[in-house]
Symmetry: C2
Subunit: 363 residues, 2 copies
């Protein structure tokens, strides 16, 4: 049972940290640990027990989704109820919470709910995310879902290739893509769809506008869907008409940079080395300045997860991580190009989850 | 100039609170006060100066959008730069920040950026949202945009009435609605589109599923778009085939409750009284238990804003507030009905911003 195994991993981590409990309030973490998908919940984990707190709206849903934790339906804020419960457990002396996910107001409210003798000592802010670091390495169930999500993305790209033509507005392309995603069963888009055409392709995050697709020029599509709670993410850049020599050269440089970074992916490689694999190709092509962002990021229940594939990152990849590899070049006033795959890290290399074609497509 | 006026209102509020500065990090608040729409920013306001901090990606955009504040392009976290700047201003002794929007980790980082002599005294957590309370009352520019947003929503409802038919999947209805919204120029949907048909109409927040629209039964559509940054929100419930007597009676009760609450809207009315106007109608109809949520909420740059139109709320409406009025009844295993308008509060009553028909539509 995956959820019990994951909660077990949290417990081992607690023990190593000298904590006797953990308060989990970030909903993707709650979902990861016990399967609950409702919009209001807190999960308390002690050495002996895991208990989910939510409200009456979710009684039936929690009973259906959650096996690895006890369920407590409460009529007050879930996290406050969780704090009160954990404070009452025998042997629980220090309970961690994620400092980066807890507001100053929440912490004050939690402390107010504690008996005076525990107010200063029970709750321990954790500077590093305690659950997201477990979510870094995907298990087989997660990899299977991420493969499906990525393939749905590839089918959508294929669909939209048959739809785009000069004169359409960018928003029409985004609308068609999102419509097709819905019909393909996506639960939603994993981020705001990027459709950037012509000169606008030089914007790394060009949201779809009323601009019309050009007779000649690039079109960058960067989009993702949510499937069984997991995010896909891919980018392809295609060209209307015949590219000029410098456009073709820049495309080939990005493609080579992307392939080099994918090639650098394997268990044990440092994230900064993978970034450098892409960056050095673009540097040799005289495009170092034009590659103005990092090479990639982890992806899973959230669209941006650890690790960061960026310059100087010394963290090492491990088998089961899923990352994006997405170098790009952006020449303001001229054009831009980005190519992005999702890649699962394996012991000996990387498995591309988004097998849509990458050779330059001329439409 | 609206932004200067709004920043002036913040300053008057600061003075009343004995504060010499305010740190604004919630992006809808930043947008409201200075017009900046980028995804990373902090705004520092002192008695003499307002200064926006953002990064190099937004250099051109900030220069174009922001007139009422100085602009500082920084290569570190915007809020940290803002804290450092404000600490260096003469005469600034206590700077408020919103406790409910600031994480424990952020506050630690901000304090670390301060000189030791200011670390304990400069930053003051504010329990109440300092800017959202100003955003409660919309000015004429905002009301004009909200009117437009609501009318786009009404046109979409009209469009979708011509699309829905028994046998379609709920997700196809959501896809069509969102597609049409994109083509109508919406920047996005303001929340996840609710399409709940047949027995599923008894779920107050039934997201669109693979379920097929019934030959006989209700269909609830609850959706909103984003237009110029502002949210619309409306719900209509229609019926396929001829409703049974109890379905018709329940619909009429919800419609009467909705009209009663709209009627109760006027400057000076307490929010709890507006809620009670709807609730008492449903109580008389024997449907008190079936109305399981509050009557409405404010709407503006965010889909859920103050005030809450709920039982026991003693806050008073003021001219310029925009609220939803959305009573509903939910009979699990049978059916549900909700009718929702956006209503602008005026001195003498309420102006319905969503004039789509509410009499029961049989399709």
């Amino acid at each position: 049972m995956e959820h019990s195994r994951r909660i077990g991993a949290v417990r081992r981590k607690l023990t190593r940290s000298g904590l006797t409990g953990l308060l989990v309030t970030h909903l993707p973490d709650v979902r990861y640990l016990c399967g609950f998908t409702g919009s209001s919940a807190a999960l308390a984990i002690t050495r002996r027990c895991a208990r989910l707190f939510t409200d009456g709206r979710y009684r039936a849903q929690a009973a259906e989704e959650v096996q690895a934790a006890e369920i407590d339906i409460v009529n007050r804020t879930a996290a406050v109820a969780a704090v009160e419960w954990v404070a009452a457990q025998a042997g629980v002396e220090s309970v961690g919470f994620e400092a980066a996910r807890t507001t100053v107001a929440d912490l004050a409210r939690w402390r107010d709910a504690l008996p005076a003798r525990l107010r200063r000592t029970l709750l321990t802010p954790l500077p590093a995310p305690p659950v997201e670091s477990l979510r870094l390495v995907k298990d087989d169930d997660e990899l299977a879902i991420l493969r499906e999500a990525a393939l749905i993305g590839c089918h959508l790209f294929d669909h939209i290739l048959g739809f785009v033509r000069p004169g359409l507005r960018e928003v029409e392309v985004a609308a068609e893509l999102e419509h097709a995603a819905r019909l393909a069963g996506a639960e939603g888009m994993s981020f705001e769809t990027i459709v950037a055409s012509g000169e606008r392709s030089a914007l790394p995050h060009g949201r779809a506008t009323e601009a019309r697709l050009p007779r000649r020029g690039f079109l960058t599509l960067d989009f993702g869907i949510i499937h069984k709670g997991y995010c896909s993410d891919m980018t392809r850049t295609v060209h209307f008409g015949s590219p000029r020599a410098e456009e073709r050269a820049a495309y080939e440089a990005v493609l080579e940079a992307q392939a080099a970074a994918v090639e650098a992916v394997e268990a044990g490689a440092r994230c900064g080395e993978v970034d450098e694999a892409a960056r050095s190709v673009l540097r040799r092509a005289g495009l170092a300045e034009a590659f103005s962002h990092s090479t990639g990021h982890g992806v899973g229940l959230e669209i941006h997860e650890m690790p960061r594939i960026a310059s100087g990152q010394t963290a090492r990849l491990a088998a089961g991580m899923v990352v994006t590899i997405e170098p790009g070049v952006y020449l303001p006033g001229q054009f831009g190009i980005r190519i992005e795959d999702m890649v699962a890290v394996t012991r000996t290399g990387g498995e591309i989850l988004t097998p849509a074609p990458k050779a330059l497509i001329e439409l």
